[in-house]
Symmetry: D4
Subunit: 172 residues, 8 copies
Amino acid sequence: MKKPQVGIVMGSDSDNPIMEETCKVLERFGVNYEKLVSSAHRSPERTRKYVAGAKKRGIKVLVAGAGGAAHLAGVMAAESILPVIGIPIPSTPLQGLDSLLSTAQMPGGVPVAAMAVGSAGARNAGILAVQILALGDASLTAKLLKYKKDQAREVELKSRKLNAANGRNPKN
Amino acid sequence: MKKPQVGIVMGSDSDNPIMEETCKVLERFGVNYEKLVSSAHRSPERTRKYVAGAKKRGIKVLVAGAGGAAHLAGVMAAESILPVIGIPIPSTPLQGLDSLLSTAQMPGGVPVAAMAVGSAGARNAGILAVQILALGDASLTAKLLKYKKDQAREVELKSRKLNAANGRNPKN
Amino acid sequence: MKKPQVGIVMGSDSDNPIMEETCKVLERFGVNYEKLVSSAHRSPERTRKYVAGAKKRGIKVLVAGAGGAAHLAGVMAAESILPVIGIPIPSTPLQGLDSLLSTAQMPGGVPVAAMAVGSAGARNAGILAVQILALGDASLTAKLLKYKKDQAREVELKSRKLNAANGRNPKN
Amino acid sequence: MKKPQVGIVMGSDSDNPIMEETCKVLERFGVNYEKLVSSAHRSPERTRKYVAGAKKRGIKVLVAGAGGAAHLAGVMAAESILPVIGIPIPSTPLQGLDSLLSTAQMPGGVPVAAMAVGSAGARNAGILAVQILALGDASLTAKLLKYKKDQAREVELKSRKLNAANGRNPKN
Amino acid sequence: MKKPQVGIVMGSDSDNPIMEETCKVLERFGVNYEKLVSSAHRSPERTRKYVAGAKKRGIKVLVAGAGGAAHLAGVMAAESILPVIGIPIPSTPLQGLDSLLSTAQMPGGVPVAAMAVGSAGARNAGILAVQILALGDASLTAKLLKYKKDQAREVELKSRKLNAANGRNPKN
Amino acid sequence: MKKPQVGIVMGSDSDNPIMEETCKVLERFGVNYEKLVSSAHRSPERTRKYVAGAKKRGIKVLVAGAGGAAHLAGVMAAESILPVIGIPIPSTPLQGLDSLLSTAQMPGGVPVAAMAVGSAGARNAGILAVQILALGDASLTAKLLKYKKDQAREVELKSRKLNAANGRNPKN
Amino acid sequence: MKKPQVGIVMGSDSDNPIMEETCKVLERFGVNYEKLVSSAHRSPERTRKYVAGAKKRGIKVLVAGAGGAAHLAGVMAAESILPVIGIPIPSTPLQGLDSLLSTAQMPGGVPVAAMAVGSAGARNAGILAVQILALGDASLTAKLLKYKKDQAREVELKSRKLNAANGRNPKN
Amino acid sequence: MKKPQVGIVMGSDSDNPIMEETCKVLERFGVNYEKLVSSAHRSPERTRKYVAGAKKRGIKVLVAGAGGAAHLAGVMAAESILPVIGIPIPSTPLQGLDSLLSTAQMPGGVPVAAMAVGSAGARNAGILAVQILALGDASLTAKLLKYKKDQAREVELKSRKLNAANGRNPKN
């Protein structure tokens, strides 16, 4: 079996339903990944060790999902030169504004690629990881081009279905 | 000379003018401290080493000032069982809302004592540190009681001065 | 029975489910506490009297939970030189942004240690209180060190359990 | 000289330039007032004593201006059954969102009449105080009616002046 | 039957459950009121006519509840010299931040007394109206003093009940 | 059958329940429309082609509903000189603040007429479209005048019904 | 001279520098307009009278600029069936978030076309007005098409100029 | 000369001072880039053509900087399968909250890697681009490792310098 190329870390196992969106995308593109729970705050050493060893074991892109004062992506970015993608999880009463700002507002010198809050962001983390890997893998490029086309066609089909169901012009 | 009891860390040397407010308070109370620049993101190992050694060297309270996705206090709290006080620095165009949320919204298990954004918060970090140390130091308790009285009297004096200057009742 | 060392005040009895998180932590660490309902606005004299007598009766740390224009922690801090920890309760339609700002944005001179909004903050208030008490109690220090280790291990176990349940590498 | 009917309290003497807007309005309407600096946090006893004695000394409306975690109006409302008007002062990097929420989001049972952030709010505090006093003073009612008319006419005059200056229809 | 002294207007009949909190308070204090639905935007003339006639018919305080771009209180204040109390209703997906800002941020010259968002604000609108009327009605003053005491006692009783139920010190 | 004059585009078929509010209004006014699903991001070419052909086919007003980083209205405005009305859909955990800012904060040169977040905005998009079309269609003007009157009367009826149900003055 | 087709109202003469952006656009397109200062709150009757007479005098589009609790556009929309465009002016310490929400969050039934906060919004109000008028005026359509092309070309020229100045590829 | 690997687009030439931060980083790492001004809204065709041709001409990473309703990055991501990095520019009175949400809150299917608001974000866009390119370029990997070390050392030096200047322990 191929070695994982993407390392997905989430701050709490309660983030898993959202993080599964990232997994689904990677599976669809046939990209191997590994996933673990590790907190920037509650298990900092585990997080650090994982990140420290990631590059050597073949990981090329790191993905981190965390809520509240979401430091996980930033902490991973501090320890690695791999691209780090951060997904703000809406797990507090502030509904993700806190996690978005904690993920995106990184200081100069240590980038995190912030995604949207929640499931849409988790899905996009998978796609961005594939886009990055595709720069060195022509088969992924082809799959991405097809994905983009399929996505556009799917919108069109849904539109026609909706109009048909509503008794409106089924060509739109 | 007495060993420092408070360890002050700031994420960038540009945070120093604000962090000096913490120093001034500690000096007023005669509490020794040490201060250094160390970033959660740009110098994570330095930050970790400092925190790891702090307790043994006699540090009892940690103070962290950082802006933007302000992870410094959280990263220090992850590595220590000492009380950690966090000061959100308003150093980005979002003016401190980002640093406040990144400092305050810590997950359960790893507390950070968040102060107000900016100078008022830095000053209060010093006072809170003294309040914590005063639990084991009766002379600090006496100083705090005096400080509280002085502070109230100062308000009164300013009020009278203002009224006098405005030609209003100088007793108010 | 030992005297309480932590005084927990909540602005309304409806805040109790959240404030129980503070109690649970203190009980786990064997720290005695007392808890009462008292509002900064509806029972100001009761609040003041409680705070005025707290230090003499052996209270070392005050914890306040309140929602909306959450003044309780600030009012208590105004009347005491004990460390005051504030928990913003998300009890209004603004979901805690109001209580967070009302708790954290204290003016220079009167600190409140603001926690995260809601349950995570309440849990952390308990831990911070223990961290403060541990400065004068070696047995609490030992318990905190163990708590930190247990917490890290728990993350690891949850991670493996999750991966096992998902048919992925159970070592992660 | 007539006794003051309005008691104006500000949390800091640095709030005075804004609070002068309240004074100007009251002077225009010939309403006597007294003004003092007293902080909810730094001089709580002074604040309380002032409020406790206000009603007996003839004060009918209380006005409070404060910034940040602006508790002053709420603390005064807790101690009095007089109407309390609160002016959020934009004195922190969060520019008044904190003081507005801390002033307006009072719990049920203890109202504060929140004004706009800053100078406009201070001016309106004066007018609202006059409106309240006018319920028992016909001469103030007459002055308010005139003030409202003058205000409307002033808008009209400014409009014509602006159009004239711009070479546009001077009737608009 | 006594003439109503308070005029309550809500922008939509869907605001009624919240506005009933104002009514309950007024009924408790024996203050007569009238209540109507009238929108600043959908029935501007009705709103204006109501406000124009209010003073003559004996109304002394106006209360307005509205959501979203909550203009109702401001529109009423533009047409009257009576004190106008505004209650921001959380009726849009923005959950009341919009209605609070639209109610509180009035320009200089036309005050609105903004309450908290939602039910707490509606309850406080009633109390503030009573506080204003009490300036000219000694019996209301007595009732307000009793209300304040009852409120404080109620907090105390709830506290003891809670502690008793939890097996903790029933004196707190 | 008359050609459609309004073109309604939504970014996702899940926005349809909200967008139906626009349709209902247009149907009430007898204005023909066409509706389709097309995303600014997932089907950019389809969106562009639709907009490019709209004017020639007789469309006079474009309506776009989208959530999150709601670019749809802006993208359509970039490609057309027809008036574009944008409806921010509250489809992310940030509840529409993101879609409102993404819709309203257009740069100088390319206007979008932003409506309120959600259903109220969708309804108003329909009315604004009719108001624009009415400038060239006297029958629509007449209908709008009647709509405005009906709307005011409906408020009045609801008010009386509410008061009657509550045993209060049924004339209000 | 041609009669004005656009009526521009601003709440305060201090809004004029921003509102001049609307004028400049209309002048560029040769569209006649009239401009006046009239406040929703300080001169409600003047505002109402202006709006009531606007349609008869040939006005086809209304533009309103206001800050804070920006009710002006909404009040005008309540009184007219003409399209109303609202420009949120950033005139308070909250920097336009208040005026944006007060302008955009209109209830169902009474639309306001909200523009961006400040100058960009004022400029776009002019363009949107022209787009609406162009539906019945082919010469404006032609001008809008040219404006759109010029705008695109201007971007290209600025890009080349910038690259040339920076010594980079002057074709980009 | 080597072909550019990074394509930098900014929505307005006024964004250039911030975008220069991206350029500086790329130059430091010896990565070729091209930079142009092109707006999502004012020059959509130019933007599209640029993006459509980018991949063929060897561009591997796209960077977009835009303010307000910052659609540029999203529009580019819609047209390409290359990784797109978005920098929110704080160019409106809302100071970048609008551009951050417009950049980050992308719908599922079309990722944008959002950076921090302003200069820090622009600098990080450059570093992230290098991190992505380094996956296929060992010399960039080496440079990144050195950059990370230099960055940490620079923090340490600044700290010592600051302490020395303040007469404090120059080892910290």
